[in-house]
């Protein structure tokens, strides 16, 4: 009866109703970062020969504002190529050229050269043509990328010149400026992608160009608006090959956070694209400050992005930085969102030494395994693999110079490499595991040691199978006296290294996962362990990513076995999290075991 009533209620309003045929749009026509807008204008690649032709030559350049300063003061320089913090002119390399007549018909296609050269053949006549150098490239030998305004429009930026076709002509240098319409911003983003691909070609055998990526950027626009936010945001959208680069704030470019000239940010986001498109990323995304223990998947992904921008921007003999600016010299204020040395952390007694546990100064790990949970520690480890400068933490040579090829080979390898489908919940532990397996002659002990990296997945996403042949695990709760900072009892603030264990488990059928634990020393103050089973997304603490959880409290009897049970766990990859509840008293060490359908889960080799 209830269903019949529901049916009538459903049918009644359908009479005369109009089916919604469009989604809501914001006032500026934006809909969503994943929106599939009109197709991008077809790429102009067909070169036409003319019997009676003129030749048009010239150069296409863009102006780039440059960051200035140090760790105390700094910002983004002027749009002028002279003065205190001058801008610099750079060739627009390998960009599409489209020549149209007065009717808008395409009469010639081309591509700028390695030094921004324009060299076109056009039909002679007493007519004018518009030469457009566009902010995209589709040359599989160099670069495949487009810089467009927004997903809802997919329009390219153009640097244009008009020529008369009565005689051959040298148009000189046409320049995309860094102020006004800030066309230089679009071409700088494109040029950073070019640099990234050039770097990879120089380091990786047989690399030609990365798959196509689209960067969406609009002067004065903050893409964080898609998420209702107002703080400046550039981001990469996994699975879509789309970057969104910060163009300013509500129309302002000179006093707000912008990223189109912040090459660290542009290349960092391109690094995220590379991991998504060419190897693998399991990062849950989210905010990160470079000053605390974070989800090791996030630490790996962000550490990789920081490293990659440094690898492209700084030579192996240089000191690498990450620099992100606010405003510029032409506004009323300029600052640095972030400026840090990526090679050498603050030191004390020959060790990375933070001023406090969560200090942003170095993101220093203090105990073994903690480096796997800190993004700058990941960055420094990767940098040490490629640089030729031994930082002061090494008493002797790192013995690791120019290993980018090994690094890349580890990442893209689908057999016992980072990209292997057996891997899941990937972090730097997986990288170490795969690198050691594939490049066993390279000794990473020293590099891992100074960063307190665990060379495997013991501390995060250890691979377990139901073999029933192992000893119990152990968990000793940690509090502030053990170095835990900022734990308010929530999962968001829980110390992921000290108060959590994580296991990667694959079940071929549905079943029950059980956590059994006992007081290790019969003290009567056992830790309160809880069990969380996550799906492959595994955003920690996000209930919709949980297959199930169990949060019973331990019993008062020290000799009893406490049990947490999650039933009806479906087949698939799971991240099992054993978490110490820190909302009450911490308790003492617990010995525990995990079981699937009654069979004990035990560590198993992931690479073999």
């Amino acid at each position: 009866m209830t269903r019949l009533l529901a049916l009538i209620i459903f049918l009644f309003p359908l009479v005369g109703c109009k089916i919604k045929d469009s989604v809501a749009t914001s006032p500026d026509g934006r809909i969503s970062p994943t929106f599939q807008g009109p197709s991008e204008l077809s790429y102009c690649s067909q070169v036409t020969s003319y019997s009676n032709a003129i030749t048009v030559t010239g150069l296409a350049y863009f102006i780039r504002r440059n960051p200035w300063g140090d760790s105390v003061t700094g910002g983004l320089g002027s749009a002028s190529t002279s003065g205190t913090h001058p801008a610099t002119a750079h060739p627009i390399r390998r960009a599409e050229i489209r020549v149209t007549n007065s009717s808008g018909q395409v009469v010639q296609c081309g591509e700028t050269g390695a030094n921004g050269e324009i060299n076109l053949s056009l039909p002679r006549g007493n007519v004018s043509y518009v030469i457009s150098v566009n902010s995209r490239s589709n040359n599989s030998s160099y670069l495949r990328a487009s810089v467009l305004n927004m997903p809802e429009r997919n329009q390219v930026y153009s640097l244009q010149a008009t020529v008369s076709a009565s005689a051959s002509i040298d148009i000189g240098t046409i320049t995309a400026s860094a102020d006004g319409s800030v066309l230089g911003g679009a071409f700088n983003i494109l040029d950073q992608f070019f640099e990234a691909n050039s770097y990879l070609r120089s380091q990786v055998a047989n690399f030609t160009s990365a798959p196509k990526v689209v960067a969406y950027w609009e002067p004065g626009y903050n893409p964080n608006a898609y998420f209702g936010g107002s703080s400046g945001l550039s981001f990469y959208l996994p699975g879509y090959s789309r970057l969104f680069i910060l163009g300013g704030q509500d129309g302002d470019l000179n006093n707000s956070d912008t990223d189109h000239f912040d090459n660290s940010v542009v290349l960092h986001e391109y690094g995220h694209f590379l991991e998504d498109a060419l190897f693998a990323s399991d990062s849950p995304g989210g905010s990160h400050n470079g000053n605390r223990i974070i989800d090791p998947r996030l630490a790996w992904s962000e550490g990789w992005g920081n490293f990659f921008q440094a690898a492209v921007l700084y030579g192996a003999n240089s000191t690498p930085y990450y620099i992100d600016t606010i405003g510029n010299d032409d506004g009323s204020l300029t600052e640095q969102i972030f400026h840090t040395n990526l090679e050498t952390p603050p030191m004390s007694g020959g060790d990375c030494y933070p001023t406090s546990q969560n200090s942003i100064n170095g993101d220093c790990p203090r105990v073994l395994g903690e480096g796997n949970f800190r993004e700058f520690s990941v960055t420094r480890m990767l940098w040490d693999m490629i640089d030729s400068v031994n930082d002061s933490r090494f008493s002797s040579s790192e013995n690791l110079d120019g290993k980018f090829n090994e690094l890349w080979g580890t990442l893209v390898n689908t057999s016992n490499g980072f990209k292997d489908s057996k891997f899941a919940f990937r972090s730097v532990g997986h990288f170490h595991l795969a690198h050691a397996f594939n490049y066993s002659s390279t000794d990473m002990t020293g590099v891992r040691g100074v960063e307190r990296h665990r060379g495997n997945t013991t501390d995060y996403a250890e691979y377990v199978t139901a073999t029933d042949s192992c000893s119990d695990f152990s968990m000793t709760p940690a509090g502030s006296s053990d170095g835990v900072v900022g734990d308010t009892g929530t999962l968001a603030t829980s110390d992921l290294l000290r108060n959590n264990d994580f296991y990667h488990f694959v079940s071929t059928g549905s079943g029950t996962i059980t956590l059994e634990y006992e007081d290790a020393n019969s003290s009567g103050t056992i830790a309160d362990l809880d069990l969380y089973i996550y799906n492959e997304s595994a955003r920690l603490g996000v209930v919709s990513d949980m297959r199930g959880y169990s949060q019973d409290e331990p019993g008062a009897n020290p000799s009893q076995t406490n049990v947490e049970t999650v039933t009806s766990v479906p087949a698939g990859k799971h991240l099992i999290n054993v978490n110490v509840y820190t909302g009450g008293s911490l308790g003492g060490t617990a010995n525990y075991r995990l079981k699937f359908n009654g069979v004990k889960l035990c560590p198993t080799t992931l690479v073999q």
Partner: protein
């Protein structure tokens, strides 16, 4: 087809849709999967967890965050004074924070400092600074506020902007876009279920 036939066909069609809808509702777990088993008691520990619509990266930021709030009424005509409050917050305690207001032409300071420093800030305890300004034109002005700090070899800062006349409109526009993003996300999610 007669009108009666059309009416019958239409009714059957509607009925089919209705039944499908009820069935889909009964199977709503396929739209919103719930955990296999939930035991309650400590659910408060889930709070503070972000749950973004789209998984996406975020750029590196320091622990500082700044905001501007208008106290009182908007300056709508030349000579109107208005008060902006700059809020500096941090998720950790920090020392030696410097701040600066960026004022456009057409705005002058009536009371307060356009720059200064704080000896320290305690994590989770925002510091609020007020600046009284006067508009000389009655136009919309973009006012900026930035705060930064240095720890060892690292400099970090945050900045924000306030539009004196149209900030509400801009904020509403962002809410609309968020709503649009949410709707689009839900439609795509639903679309996936049927494949």
């Amino acid at each position: 087809m007669s009108n009666n036939s059309r009416a019958i066909v239409l009714f059957i069609f509607m009925l089919a849709i209705g039944i499908a809808t009820i069935t889909a509702d009964n199977n709503s777990d396929s739209f919103h999967r719930h955990p296999a088993q939930i035991k309650t008691g400590k659910n408060w520990i889930f709070k503070e967890m972000p749950n973004s619509l789209h998984r996406h990266t975020q750029k590196l930021r320091g622990p500082l965050e700044v905001q501007i709030t208008l106290l009182g009424s908007k300056p709508e005509k030349p000579g109107d004074t208005f008060v902006l409050q700059g809020t500096i917050s941090s998720d950790e305690s920090l020392g030696n924070i410097d701040y600066k207001w960026g004022l456009p032409e057409g705005v002058e300071v009536v009371n307060g400092s356009v720059n200064g420093s704080l000896l320290s800030i305690t994590g989770g305890q925002p510091v609020r600074l007020e600046l009284t300004l006067k508009t000389l034109t009655g136009d919309n002005h973009r006012v900026h506020f930035v705060a930064g700090a240095t720890q060892g070899q690292t400099r970090f800062a945050d900045a924000t902007q306030y539009n004196t006349l149209i900030q509400n409109l801009l904020d509403e526009s962002k809410k609309e876009l968020l709503k649009s993003t949410q709707e689009h996300y839900q439609e795509k999610t639903r679309f996936k279920v049927f494949h």
